[in-house]
C-alpha cells in the first residue's frame, strides 16, 4: 500500500487534457482549467474559445510578441492560431448557448451527485457575486467537466449529495477531475473511473459527500 499522493494542479490539468479529443471546440474556465491548454497532447488539434470573442486561441505570447489587444476571458494576454477568428459578445455567447462547444471545463465550489454545479457565489448571503459567463457555459456546452481539488482547504467534500452554495446550473456536470480521482456523474450518481496513486476506495469515499460507485479497474 502506497501513501496517498494527490495530484498537483498541473497534473490535474494534464490529466483532463488527455481526454480532450481532436477537433473539439473547447472553453476553459479561469483557474486550473486554463492550465489545460498547455497540456493538450502534441499534434492533437483542439480549438479554444474565449467568451470575449475569440476562437482559435493560442498560448501566452513570448514577451516580444505581446499584444495588449488580445486577451482571454481571464484578462491574460494570449495569441491567435492560424484559423482563428474574432466576433462580438452576442455571437460569442450564441456559440456557447447554442450548443456549439464540445466541451467546457470549469472550476467548482461544489458538484452534486445529480450534476448540479455551484461555482459562482460563495454564499447565499453574498449580495454582489460575480457570475460572468459561468451560467451560460454551464447550460450551453455539450459537455461540462469540472476540475477541482477533491475537498476544500478545510477538508470538506466538494462532491456532495446536494449543493449548499447557490447553483450555477442544474444537472450540468458530466465529469469531475480532482486531485484524487476522475469521477463520472451518471444517472445513478458519482461513479469513479480512476484514482490517483495510493488513493483507496475507502479514503476517497471518506473525502466525498455522496456515495461513490467504482467502475475503475485500477488496483487498490
Amino acid at each position: 500500500m502506497t501513501d496517498l499522493v494527490p495530484l498537483s494542479r498541473t497534473q490535474m490539468a494534464s490529466r483532463a487534457a488527455q481526454d480532450i479529443e481532436e477537433g473539439w471546440y473547447v472553453n476553459l474556465g479561469i483557474g486550473i482549467p486554463t492550465l489545460i491548454a498547455d497540456h493538450i497532447p502534441n499534434g492533437r488539434e483542439v480549438v479554444l474559445h474565449s467568451e470575449n470573442g475569440i476562437l482559435g486561441m493560442g498560448p501566452a505570447p513570448a514577451a516580444a510578441d505581446a499584444d495588449p489587444w488580445l486577451i482571454n476571458a481571464g484578462k491574460q494576454q494570449v495569441t491567435l492560431l492560424h484559423g482563428g477568428s474574432f466576433f462580438h459578445h452576442a455571437d460569442s455567447f450564441a456559440m456557447i448557448r447554442g450548443g456549439h462547444l464540445d466541451l467546457c471545463v470549469l472550476g467548482a465550489f461544489e458538484v452534486a451527485r445529480n450534476g448540479d454545479l455551484a461555482n459562482w457565489a460563495t454564499s447565499a448571503a453574498d449580495s454582489a457575486p460575480a457570475v460572468g459567463g459561468a451560467m451560460d457555459l454551464a447550460v450551453g456546452a455539450r459537455r461540462i467537466w469540472v476540475v477541482t481539488e477533491h475537498t476544500t482547504k478545510d477538508g470538506a467534500p466538494k462532491l456532495v449529495e446536494r449543493c449548499a452554495y447557490p447553483l450555477t446550473a442544474l444537472g450540468a456536470v458530466s465529469r469531475i477531475y480532482t486531485n484524487l480521482a476522475v469521477v463520472d456523474v451518471t444517472a445513478d450518481g458519482f461513479e469513479v473511473i480512476e484514482r490517483a496513486p495510493g488513493v483507496t476506495r475507502e479514503a476517497l469515499q471518506a473525502r466525498t459527500g455522496a456515495p461513490l460507485r467504482f467502475r475503475e479497474t485500477a488496483h487498490d
Partner: protein
Amino acid sequence: MIDKIVPDLSAALSGVSDGATVMVGGFGAVGQPDALIEALIDQGARDLTVIANNAGTGHTGLARLMEAGRVRRIICSFPRSAGSVVFEALFKAGHIALEIVPQGTLAERIRAAGAGVGAFFTPTGYGTRLAEGKETREIDGKHYVMEYALHADLALVEAWQADRWGNLTYRRSGRNFNPIMASAATLTVAQTQHLAELGTLDPESVVTPGIFVDRVVHVPYGDPKG
C-alpha cells in the same frame, strides 16, 4: 489534424436521412448553394422539410427537388417569385405544405436556433393573419408575437472562401441567410468557390467561424445563375 474538406459532393451529403429538415441559403440566385441542391437531388433523401427564403424558380435546383416529389413541406417568406411554377402547381394540387413566415421573423427564428434562444417576442405580424393562434404579449406598451427557434438537421450554404477549419467568407449580397443557417443545423455543409490555406483568411473578416461548419466542398461554380 482538423480537415473539414471533403473530396466531392457525394461525400458532402452522405448520411442525410429521409424526413430531414433542410435549410437552403441564398437570396435570389446569389449565395444559393446550387451544387449542393443538385447533390441532394442525387443523394435521394425523401420527405424533406425545406427552409429557404423562396420556393424555387424554373425547373432547376430547389424547384427540381420539389418536382421530384421529395419535399413534403416548405417554410419560407416568399414562395411566389417570378417563375415559381413548380411550387405553384404542387401547392395547388395539395402535394406540398407551406408555412409562410415574415422574412425577418424567419431570419430571427433561424438565428435563435443557432444561439440557443428557445423563443422570442417580435412586433412583426402582430394583428395580422400570420399571428393567428400565436401567443402575444404587450411589453412597454408595444405589442409582440411569440415565435419559436427554427432548427434544421442539415444546412446547405454557399461560401466564397473556406479553409480546412470550416471558416467561411461570403461575397457581397451572397451573405444573406447563409451565416445564420450555418449556425442553426446539426450538420452544416458549405460549398465554396475558393479554398484558402489555414491562416490566410483575416481573423477580423471571417463571417462564419468554423465552429458552425461540419463539411466543406470545393465547387468553383462561377457567377450566380439568373
